[in-house]
């Protein structure tokens, strides 16, 4: 397997970004990444892309990334793996370069959460993350989910708060 390097990175600020849609945020992050590659990047060199996005906004994710960033006629793959979504997109891209299948690939992670009312967002995400009949209405917010693990860990281990 070949060794793989990250040669450029860019990102937008974190925020609710009511004034910007996912179709704005994606090219912003990609352009900042391109501007930070030593000796520059010819975008035509990008041979494939992996897109980590938990929830879809404004349409199917792969197509949105391809369309908004001009990544036409190359394979674009959306990855979803809960809280590990971004890491998993990096992992898949790494495999592609390490294997020799591609030399230059793009990884993007993005989620545009605040596209529905603050009241509705919680239950939209609950529908994504919980069993519809057994767990959905319990109100197991994400921090509570992890707290159940941590509380038991603190109980069983010598760890302290």
């Amino acid at each position: 397997m070949r060794r793989v390097a990250v040669v450029g990175a860019g990102m937008t600020a974190f925020g609710e970004h009511f004034g910007l849609g996912i179709k704005d945020l994606l090219p912003m992050a990609v352009s900042e990444m391109a501007a930070h590659v030593d000796k520059g990047l010819d975008r035509a060199d990008i041979q494939a892309a992996w897109f980590g996005e938990l929830t879809t906004t404004d349409g199917f994710p792969s197509g949105i990334l391809a369309d908004t960033c001009g990544l036409l006629d190359i394979p674009v793959t959306r990855v979803e793996n809960a809280c590990a979504t971004g890491n998993d997109a990096v992992r898949n891209a790494t495999f592609a370069v390490a294997s020799g299948a591609f030399d230059v690939v793009l990884v993007v992670g993005a989620d545009k959460v605040r596209e529905s009312s603050a009241r509705a967002t919680f239950w939209e995400w609950a529908g994504l993350t919980r069993d519809m009949a057994w767990d959905y209405p319990l109100g197991l917010v994400a921090p509570a989910n992890f707290a159940l693990h941590v509380a038991r860990y603190l109980h069983e281990s010598p760890a302290t708060r």
């Binding site: 009949a133 319990l138 109100g139």
Partner: protein
């Protein structure tokens, strides 16, 4: 003459000595289920905290359930299946869902055929007290009905004086506000027309002061005023140690029955009252429901049953197509789960959550009996944030949420400490089993 074999009562844990109120996760159905389970265990038909084993459920001999309340959770869509599942009765039993008050319950009792389970629940949001009670009627000669007592209709008066009214589609009860009219032309005339030859021992459905004017001695106080009060009244005969006439009134109507003995089998599931928690309610959208997921989960979820692998016997909650233990996909059969357990981990949510009253606690409960099943559930009946790892409790049916108008029932953990005072000295024999 019908034979009353056993009585069960239930009071929600919230409120004060003056009256109970339903918690945010209770409704007439969950109240009724708790009372019905108490009645069946008083009759010795189910173990109190345990699930009715399939054989035991078959042996209950219940052939008909009459559910009387003025707060039916569903008017269209039926509460019958949830009621049977929650009580632990087979799904081929006829259920009568009846809107009514205290006299309607005595009417149902006086006319009941053997094998009838009458469930009466009050879950008003008008501020009137909440509670539920249930009565099991058997054939007079049924074996094992020690403590059974005969009930006979004395009289019935059906009149109209809707001082309190709520038309179909109206959100709240209207009050005509004339207590003297209600007392004189309502209850007064009804009692007069009954021409009782014997003063009642206890009166249901009216304020204690009025009850006292009608009775021979000081009548026992009852915790509710609606449908359930009629059965609380009969249960109270045991407290005063007397047989005799029980009168149930509602506005201008009344029914009187006579009991030829003191009810022997009474189980009260009546935890000590806690001041209701101040909940923060954050407006939210309708919580979505998937009715296909609802239907698939219904039996396991409302009967508290796991899928038992047909190949190796491993339990899974919820049931799994592929057994995690042996890998078999040959199938599974629903099997009752223990209804007691110990907190494996717990968390309290205090941030506002749209559509849910906060704060609330969630717990992972390790069920008893070495079944190796842990369940993620809400905690009920205690103040949020008071449940710790290692605490013990029992699993009780609650309304977990209302989803797009559909009550979503499931089980919650009722920690033990809260139910200790259920064994008040005035109550009956058998509370230990319920509280543990």
């Amino acid at each position: 003459m019908v034979t009353l074999a056993a009585l069960g009562t239930y009071l929600p844990p919230w409120g004060s000595a003056r009256g109970r109120v339903v918690g945010p996760d209770e409704d007439a159905l969950t109240l009724g289920v708790a009372a019905a389970r108490a009645a069946l265990s008083a009759a010795g038909r189910t173990s109190p905290a345990g699930p009715p084993a399939a054989e035991a459920a078959a042996a209950t001999g219940v052939r008909r359930v009459v559910f009387v309340t003025r707060e039916l959770p569903l008017l269209v869509g039926s509460n019958a299946a949830a009621l049977l599942a929650g009580i632990g009765l087979a799904a081929d039993i006829a259920v009568v869902e009846q809107v009514g008050g205290a006299p309607a319950v005595l009417d149902a009792l006086a006319d009941a055929s053997p094998g009838t389970l009458i469930v009466a629940a009050d879950a008003p949001d008008s501020g009137e007290p909440a509670g539920a009670a249930a009565a099991l009627v058997t054939a007079a000669d049924t074996a094992g009905t020690a403590g059974g007592v005969g009930v006979e209709l004395v009289g019935r008066v059906v009149r109209s004086l809707p001082v309190h009214s709520q038309a179909a589609g109206e959100a709240a009860v209207r009050d005509y506000s004339d207590t003297r009219l209600e007392r004189e032309r309502g209850l007064g005339v009804a009692v007069e027309r009954l021409s009782l030859t014997e003063k009642p021992v206890v009166v249901a459905g009216v304020a204690p002061k009025q009850a006292a004017t009608l009775c021979a001695g000081a009548p026992p106080a009852l915790p509710t005023l609606g449908a359930s009060s009629a059965l609380f009244a009969i249960a109270a005969l045991r407290d005063v140690g007397s047989s005799g006439v029980v009168l149930a009134a509602e506005q201008a109507s009344a029914t009187a029955v006579r009991l030829d003995g003191v009810p022997g089998a009474v189980r009260r599931d009546e935890p000590a009252p806690l001041a209701p928690e101040k909940a923060t309610r954050t407006a939210g959208p309708d919580i979505a429901v998937s009715l296909s997921a609802y239907e698939r989960a219904f039996d396991a979820k409302l009967r508290w049953e796991a899928g038992r692998c047909d190949a190796c016997g491993t339990l899974a909650l919820p049931p799994r197509r592929r057994c995690l233990s042996c890998g078999s996909e040959a199938g599974w059969t629903l099997a009752p789960l223990p209804r007691t357990g110990e907190v494996y981990s717990a968390v309290t949510v205090r941030v506002p959550v749209p559509g849910l009253p906060t704060p609330y606690s969630l717990a992972i409960v390790e069920l008893d009996g070495g079944v190796d099943v842990r369940a993620l559930v809400k905690v009920t009946g205690v103040k949020a944030g008071t449940t710790r790892i290692g605490d013990r409790g029992r699993m009780v049916l609650r309304r977990v949420a209302v989803r797009s108008g559909v009550p979503d029932y499931g089980y919650a953990l009722f920690p033990d400490g809260s139910a200790v005072a259920a064994a008040e000295p005035t109550t009956t024999d058998t509370l230990e089993g319920v509280a543990r």
